[in-house]
């Protein structure tokens, strides 16, 4: 096991809420609140969760596109939060990002060549001729032809635009890519092409990915490890195989069961959660999931659940902790018990009032 390339410890990113004439801070949106993980070189961590859970903010905090308010981020041994000026710029060359919407993330007035070359110019890399060579090489890697050089983004389909965005990130020869919902805006038949490209590039170039997505099956396919976020926290983290085979957190189970599937054999009994995700400006005390959790007990309402760790699996849940202790740390036994408990408790919500 090599040293991790990216290490995040107790990352905290709050956005102040300002009100009134003096713009006084009256509260905080706790977008990310105590997130820890590490990614080994050449590996992929998948980050899943629903909108507003903070997964995008985690990615942006690592890149310092937003300033974290607390915690530690280390990249290849460098303390990312302490870097300034030239050091930060040098670091940023090694960490790149691909955003969700290739329609919004590419400047429509720039040619493909200018878009991809921009990073090289900013970082002062290469002569004009070398830059063009590097642009063409990056384009070839992502399956774009040289003919595209002087064309504009609107001339391309969504899938090709996403290839341009990937080429733009790759041209700087980074070590680490934050992929923020890179395929969500694409058509189904194109998604598989881009997923294959990303995996191929990772293998050829030894890249490390933080793959942020709400698409659970794509995340499983791409990732070595997967972390599930809820309301600013990671609730469960495990190797992809362990997480999908033995989910331990009730939220993970509910999330998996909510995904519609075409395969009747894979269909899980649906656990329909009641209500909406609470506001991150005023998260519930205790376990943040307790207001929607069918298994919530009194301890869940009071005490923030600590992390319980197994070799390939970590979970923050009082019920899971108890079941793991009971089964002597056997995740598959504990997972089966929790699934059975949920199936018992999660009766479909009854109609409150039923007018004919």
């Amino acid at each position: 096991m090599t040293a991790p390339l990216v290490e995040v410890e107790q990352l905290q990113t709050y956005f102040p809420i300002r009100r009134g004439l003096l713009r006084r801070v009256v509260g905080n949106v706790q977008a990310v609140d105590g997130v820890s993980f590490s990614i080994a070189r050449g590996k992929t961590l998948g980050l899943v969760g629903e909108s507003g859970c903070g997964k995008t903010t985690v990615g942006r905090s690592i890149l310092r596109l937003v300033e974290p308010t607390g915690g530690r981020v280390a990249f290849d041994g460098l303390a990312v939060r302490d870097l300034r000026g030239r050091d930060l710029r040098n670091l940023r060359r090694r960490m790149q990002v691909v955003f969700q919407d290739p329609y919004g993330s590419l400047n429509p007035r720039m040619t493909v060549r200018a878009l991809i070359e921009e990073g090289l110019i900013i970082h002062g890399l290469g002569s004009a001729r070398e830059r063009v060579d590097r642009v063409v090489r990056a384009m070839e890697r992502t399956g774009l032809s040289r003919q595209a050089l002087e064309r504009y983004p609107h001339e391309f389909s969504g899938g090709q635009r996403q290839r341009i965005a990937i080429a733009r990130a790759l041209v700087l020869e980074p070590d680490f890519l934050v992929l923020d919902e890179p395929i969500s805006a694409l058509d189904l038949s194109i998604q598989a092409q881009v997923v294959n490209l990303l995996i191929e590039l990772r293998e050829q170039l030894g890249l490390t990915y933080l793959f942020i997505s709400h698409d659970l099956s794509v995340v499983e396919h791409v990732s070595d490890e997967v972390a599930v976020m809820y309301l600013g926290r990671i609730v469960e983290r495990a190797t992809a195989a362990a997480l999908y085979a033995q989910p331990l957190h009730p939220y993970t189970l509910a999330l998996f069961s909510a995904v519609p599937t075409v395969d009747p054999a894979r269909r899980r009994r649906r656990i329909v959660l009641v209500g909406d995700v609470p506001s991150p400006s005023n998260p519930p005390r205790g376990c943040r999931f307790h207001p929607r959790c069918p298994l919530a007990e009194s301890v869940c309402r009071e005490v923030d659940p600590p992390m319980v760790s197994l070799p390939e699996h970590a979970v923050h849940c009082h019920v899971a902790a108890r079941e793991l202790a009971r089964s002597g740390g056997n995740a598959s036994v504990a997972a089966a018990t929790i699934a059975a408990l949920l199936a018992d408790r999660a009766t479909p919500p009854t109609a409150t009032l039923s007018p004919g």
Binding site: D187, L188, A192, A254, V262, P264, R270
Partner: protein, 376 residues
């Protein structure tokens, strides 16, 4: 086991009059760049109380089909040909030619609608209660008080929390899932016989999507409303629809009962779509199956079968198929780029628009196909 009939029929069997029958619908947009046939000869029907899913990628014409039924196709688009027969209250109306005033009483009355983005389809300056009551007042001769009472009743029906309080709130005060419940309440307020839902859960998170889909199927069972569900999500269709139509480039390419379609897909496009999704547990079996190329734009629809440039089975005279493979053309067979394959029945109720659906070998499940790597 379903046996294939010896002679495939070429038109759907006559049944008792369906609630809605779309026949050879053509809807085109007339732009400076030319005529764009977004919907090009679509025939579909839906029975009372059933759910029909229309799936396809962006630009396949699924939304334009729905908009045509509601006659909401905006200029420069217009319905150029075909019939949209809506059988309601003992009479059959052709919505394709119905005069606008009569159409207005159908739209929102006997046919309800739910759109994708509840924030943009709800009016931000009116309260939720006013908006639902307005729909009722438009179609029913009732007092304001009765309309408001109906609005409250509908909010209770869609199980919005604190319905009495929500009645006087504005859309921005509600979450996405709550707004979609309001949209559903509005669509159902006039007891429609048919609800057209265009991507009703696409803007929602999966756990909220699960709530809304559950609500829709519960309401369908209770009220007997037929639903046309338009989506790009095959899983949503598989779990909520009785029948499925797959659209590609303005045409229906495959239609079957949902269980049959997903267990035994027959059109190469449907097979390709199903195989392109990573299925759990196949992580280390190599790259995902992909469909080469991209969805054609309506101004560049290919001749013949519109899927042939991307199809691994396309049989072309000497030319290359999408996969780069050349499949020899047996004598007497039409090349895929020469003629439009008819939609024909390959198993009871299972219709496919492909010349080679029969010769593709025994129907297999998408999982087997994915594992076997049919497309690569």
């Amino acid at each position: 086991m379903i046996e294939r009939p010896p002679h495939p029929r070429l038109s759907p069997p006559p049944r008792h009059a369906p609630l809605l029958a779309i026949k050879n619908l053509v809807t085109a947009f007339h732009t400076p760049a030319g005529r764009i046939p977004a919907v090009d000869g679509v025939s579909l029907s839906i029975e009372r109380g059933r759910t029909l899913g229309i799936v396809g990628e962006s630009g396949c014409g699924k939304s334009v089909t729905a908009m045509s039924v509601l006659r909401l196709v905006a200029s420069p688009g217009r319905i150029e040909a075909g019939e949209i027969l809506f059988s309601s209250g003992g009479t059959t109306l052709d919505l394709a030619t119905l005069p606008e005033p009569a159409m207005r009483s159908v739209r929102g009355g006997r046919i309800g609608m739910i759109f994708q983005e509840p924030m943009t389809s709800l009016n931000p300056v009116f309260t939720v209660g006013d908006q639902i009551a307005e729909a009722v007042l438009l179609h029913r001769r009732v007092s304001r008080e009765a309309a408001r009472a109906r609005a409250l009743e509908m909010l209770q029906l869609v199980r919005l929390a604190d319905p009495r309080q929500r009645l006087d709130e504005y859309p921005h005060q509600l979450s996405g899932g709550m707004r979609q419940r309001v949209m559903i309440a509005m669509a159902l307020a006039c007891d429609p016989e048919l609800v057209i839902a265009d991507e009703p859960t696409t803007a929602l998170d999966v756990t909220i999507q699960a709530q809304i889909l559950e609500l829709l199927s519960e309401l369908r069972a209770r009220l007997g409303t037929a639903i046309v569900l338009i989506t790009h999500d095959l899983g949503v269709v598989a779990e909520t629809c009785d029948d499925v139509a797959v659209m590609y480039a303005g045409r229906v390419v495959e239609q079957a009962p949902a269980a049959e379609l997903f267990a035994r897909p027959r059109h190469p496009y449907t097979i390709g779509l199903l195989a392109a999704r990573p299925s759990p547990g196949m992580k280390h079996s190599g790259p995902l199956c992909t469909i080469p190329g991209m969805v054609p734009l309506p101004q560049h629809f290919p001749a013949g079968c519109r899927f042939h440039p991307r199809c691994a089975y396309a049989r072309l005279p000497g030319a290359e198929s999408g996969s780069g493979r050349v499949v020899p053309l047996p004598a007497g067979e039409l090349p895929c780029n020469a003629a439009v394959p008819p939609l024909h029945e390959v198993a009871p109720g299972h219709w496919v628009r492909c010349f080679h659906a029969e010769s593709l070998g025994p129907p297999r499940s998408a999982q087997e196909i994915a594992a076997g790597g049919l497309f690569s």
